[in-house]
């Protein structure tokens, strides 16, 4: 193999409307938003169909008393079961998606048992976790699924009692006849309901949201008890009779191939079952070349991996070097970019004739997803059929890729969806599934492939670093007149920027300032880059919301005032509604007490970002210590060390109506803490193609003592549908904190992680 082709799921996380996923890698699996009639055609089976029973690994045998009008719920003598369609990666959908079904079904939550739905795109459409899309793309479907069942249950009771169904109501998993006081439980009605034809279009009535009893309340996660008891839930917890344990060593510089390896020595080590070379399949997001070791235990496999000596052919391997890229960017920022992605008005004229101006060179490092559960997959290949137990965010894609790897049709692959110990976008890619499939096929016994933490970071698909030379101007009234962003990013193919590393016309403040130009230049890069929580937004917010503050300061004006002025009158601007934007900005400012007298050394900073259809504003209150003396940073520069106290981050979020208040609050708090952790000290650097920081000793995440208070406020005006919350609260953290640092100390931070500029958390 001479070149590295890389088919990622580049636009997955950004395809926010769920109409269609624009990417060849997903061709087989379109997300199609069905109207109700289509939905019923697809999922409705008259008489309570067998569809789920035929695919659910543990579905009970179908009998006449089983009511299963669609793939989302089943009612029989075992009670009410609701199936959670998408992978659970910590974003809470295993609870929130079934809540929507239960709401319209009018079931008591305590009567509901939630199960992970089988992976079956014929029944469910594309099943995945990404782009904060589970709620917006499934909300209508799930309401319909619950309401359809409810209407059939009502009809079953009406038939039984021989009354007009319009006189009946539902309550707490029962159909009630208030006239007579009679009631029947859904379980009692299941058999009758199963024999009814599907309701006609007009018959299924959705609730008025004012009648919601579950949605918007605080419910706890359906797996909570299993989690605190340590029950097997995650991919890594799987076990099978005769299971062997595998590890896989790839070239530390991506793209290298195996020349030779001391396989004979390795095979002699204790507990080793086999050791062999796998050729890659030419797709870097599927199977890279390497050496597989299969053992009787994880530990023996890991020990053998340490003793493995491989000679790599690195002629086509990555030579990526972060320092070189930084130096190159430092030179390129002075030149016009290769490409103009935005060009509004006459930015050059605006910059020349300004009353005030600001300039700055912003920079952010590469980071790793590092979900706490290292990649793993259990696979069994027998008689031409592959069974997988995979903690993946894109199970249908995992099936397609694994089928190619072992050379069977996709319908010969069964994937058991496992709870994921974190995702953040890492598990949108299924390289670990492909490796497990290839190893299982080779050895002919079931294996569990386990990546070490070092594998997980070194062979991540990274959030790309980037550089922005920012120049802007204000007029004599202090209004922004010019905004120029020279963006230097990375490209794998020499053409398209990497995922999460390209700007387009949706970038803030396009459309909100009169003269704006965004230029884009790409540096060649070999290591894999991919979607990372709030792709693009997670770095661009830092740059543009910090730079807006720089311009407000150049105009000697209050940042909040300028931000609200820039957002302007409530209107639609592309996908963004500026009124909703101003709404969260005002609420965050009010709740944080913007403008109040602050203790000495404290500062408030504000930032807003719109991403994944969500509007989030944050105000950070920080304190900055005095310079404590200079130390070298990662880049070898000598910088003053300063203590940073992040006292509180006040957030205001508008994602429409909240589905699960507990989960939503957790997502916001978690995103803020993730945002702070990432901006403070996270960085992966590359030398000779090799990642330098591969475990938590050098990739240092935020811990409890540094956790700030996080206040969470939501806005729901009742006019907009619900959207997702796995990502939108992440992007505003870094600019809010950096703007607060400036307010507290006069130091403008332009590098992430900000430890590069000497800041560390108290």
């Amino acid at each position: 193999m001479t070149s590295l082709s890389y088919a990622g799921i580049s636009e997955l996380a950004e395809a926010v409307n769920g109409q269609r996923l624009h990417n060849s890698a997903l061709d087989e699996f379109r997300v199609v938003k069905l109207d109700r009639r289509q939905f019923l055609k697809l999922t409705g089976v008259v008489g309570g169909g067998l569809m789920l029973a035929s695919v659910a690994p543990r579905a009970h045998a179908q009998d006449s008393a089983t009511f299963q009008p669609n793939g989302y719920l089943k009612i029989d003598s075992d009670g009410i079961q609701i199936f959670a369609k998408n992978p659970e990666i910590g974003q809470g959908v295993k609870t929130s998606l079934p809540m929507i079904v239960a709401e319209e079904l009018d079931a008591s939550w305590s009567d509901v048992q939630v199960l992970q739905a089988p992976i079956d795109t014929g029944t469910y459409g594309y099943q995945f976790a990404g782009g904060s899309m589970s709620i917006p793309t499934n909300y209508a479907t799930l309401r319909n699924a619950g309401a359809t069942a409810r209407s059939l249950l009502i009809r079953a009771a009406a038939n039984k009692w021989n009354v007009d169904k319009a006189t009946l109501a539902t309550q707490n998993s029962h159909v009630v006849d208030s006239a007579s006081g009679r009631k029947l439980s859904y379980v009692e009605l299941a058999g009758d309901a199963a024999s009814l034809p599907m309701p006609s279009d007009g018959e299924v009535a959705l609730k008025d949201p004012k009648q919601f009893r579950l949605l918007g309340t605080r419910l706890t996660g359906v797996d909570n008890e299993a989690i605190v008891k340590g029950e097997p839930l995650f991919g890594i917890d799987q076990s099978l009779p005769g299971l062997k344990y595998a590890v896989y060593q790839k070239c530390p510089a991506i793209g290298g191939t195996v020349s030779s390896a001391n396989l004979a020595d390795v095979k002699k080590m204790p507990g080793i079952v086999d050791a062999f070379v796998l050729e890659g399949n030419g797709n870097a997001s599927e199977l890279l070349p390497g050496v597989a070791i299969v053992a009787n235990s994880t530990w023996e496999a890991m020990q053998a991996k340490k003793a493995l000596r491989v000679e790599w052919d690195e002629s086509d391997a990555s030579k990526d070097n972060w320092e070189q890229a930084s130096n190159e960017a430092d030179r390129l920022r002075l030149e016009n970019g290769q490409q103009q992605v935005v060009n509004q008005g006459d930015v050059d004229a605006a910059l020349e004739s300004s009353a005030g101006s600001a300039s700055g060179f912003y920079k952010y490092h590469f980071v790793s997803h590092a979900p706490l559960e290292p990649q793993n997959c259990t696979a069994s290949f027998k008689d031409g059929a592959l069974v997988l137990w995979a903690p993946t965010q894109t199970p249908p894609q995992a099936i397609g890729s694994a089928a190619r790897i072992v050379g069977v049709a996709p319908n010969k692959v069964t994937l058991n969806q496992m709870r994921c110990g974190g995702g953040f976008g890492r598990r949108l890619y299924n390289d670990f599934v492909c490796e497990a499939a290839a190893i299982a096929k080779h050895v002919g016994v079931p294996i569990k492939l386990q990546w070490t933490r070092e594998d997980d970071i070194a062979y991540d698909l990274f959030r790309a670093g980037g550089f922005h030379q920012m120049d802007g101007s204000v007029d004599a009234d202090g209004k922004i007149t010019g905004w120029r962003d020279r963006f230097i990013t990375f490209t794998a193919d020499g053409n398209r920027p990497v995922t999460g590393g390209s700007l387009d016309a949706s970038v803030f403040p396009n459309g909100l300032v009169p003269n704006m130009r965004v230029e884009q230049t790409s540096l060649k890069w070999t290591n894999r880059c991919a979607a990372w929580r709030a792709p693009g937004s997670n770095v661009f917010a830092f740059v543009v919301q910090s730079f807006l503050h720089e311009l407000a300061d150049a105009a000697n004006r209050d940042h909040l005032e300028v931000l609200l002025e820039v957002l302007g009158e409530p209107r639609r601007l592309g996908r963004m509604h500026t009124g909703r934007a101003s709404g969260v900005v005002k609420l965050a400012a009010e709740k944080a007490g913007w403008g109040r007298e602050l203790p000495k050394g404290h500062g408030l900073g504000v930032a807003f970002y719109f991403s994944h259809q969500g509007y989030v504003a944050q105000v950070a209150e920080v304190g900055v210590g005095d310079p404590e003396g200079a130390r070298q940073n990662r880049s070898g520069e000598s910088v003053q060390q300063r203590k940073l106290y992040v006292h509180k981050i006040t957030t205001a979020t508008d994602v429409g109506p909240i589905v699960n208040l507990s989960g939503a609050e957790n997502q916001v708090q978690g995103s803020v803490i993730d945002g702070l952790s990432t901006m403070m000290d996270l960085s992966v650097t590359f030398e000779n193609g090799r990642v330098q920081e591969t475990n938590f000793d050098r990739y240092r995440m935020l811990r409890m003592p540094s956790t700030p208070q996080v206040a969470v406020h939501f806005i729901d005006t009742g006019e907009f549908p619900p959207t997702g919350l796995g990502e939108p609260a992440f992007p505003p953290v870094a600019p809010a904190v950096c703007n607060a640092i400036f307010a507290a100390s006069g130091h403008r931070v332009r590098t992430m992680p900000i430890s590069e500029e000497g800041f560390y958390l108290a």
């Binding site: 340590g230 839930l233 076990s239 235990s297 530990w299 706490l372 058991n416 957790n666 811990r703 003592p705």
Partner: protein, 183 residues
């Protein structure tokens, strides 16, 4: 022989071979396991997970940095990923599976974790709970700073620290009021 069910209902058979001279006895959650021939340097983590099928204890880093593998050794929190099984000796190992009562009733920490809906992905949480358990056994009424420093060796990648802190406090309060009630 011991039957350990996994998520799919398969049963993993744990063979208790007492034959080779390197066999070890390991006390876990009140039961004594005779381990088959095993490399005495094997970290306790992998013995728990692969040999005994106690998979609640998690692997996160393998170098004592993340706390996902935290268990109690005679009540004291210990990183099982770097702790050789042979060094356990006569000590009592308690894992997350050993916290609930034999009838399955959750202890105060587990209950607080469930009620306050602490988990996001949940992967770190058994280690977090074990670290908190170790803290409360020595300091039943910790201050915030004491909680923070006791929990500082556990990473939550999802950022649930605020709820973890709250859950530790809630459980501590519950334990104290239970004790008072019992007098």
């Amino acid at each position: 022989m011991e039957q350990v069910p996994d998520v799919l209902g398969y049963h993993k058979t744990v063979v208790s071979k007492i034959a080779h001279d390197m066999s070890l006895n390991l006390k876990v959650n009140g039961a004594t396991h005779s381990l088959p021939e095993i490399d005495p340097q094997t970290p306790l983590l992998w013995v728990l997970r692969d040999t005994l099928g106690l998979v609640g204890t998690k692997y996160g880093c393998g170098i004592s940095q993340c706390g996902a593998c935290t268990v109690l050794l005679d009540g004291k929190s210990t990183k099982s990923c770097i702790f050789p099984v042979a060094s356990v000796g006569d000590s009592e190992v308690t894992t997350i599976e050993g916290l609930a009562s034999p009838s399955g009733e959750l202890n105060a920490l587990q209950k607080a974790w469930v009620d306050l809906d602490v988990a996001q992905c949940g992967y770190c949480q058994s280690g977090q709970i074990m670290a908190a358990e170790s803290l409360l056994r020595t300091n039943p009424n910790p201050e915030d700073e004491e909680i923070d420093s006791a929990m500082a060796s556990n990473i939550c990648r999802c950022g649930t620290y605020l709820r973890i802190r709250q859950a530790v406090k809630t459980a501590a309060k519950q334990n104290l009021s239970d004790d008072m009630g019992g007098e």
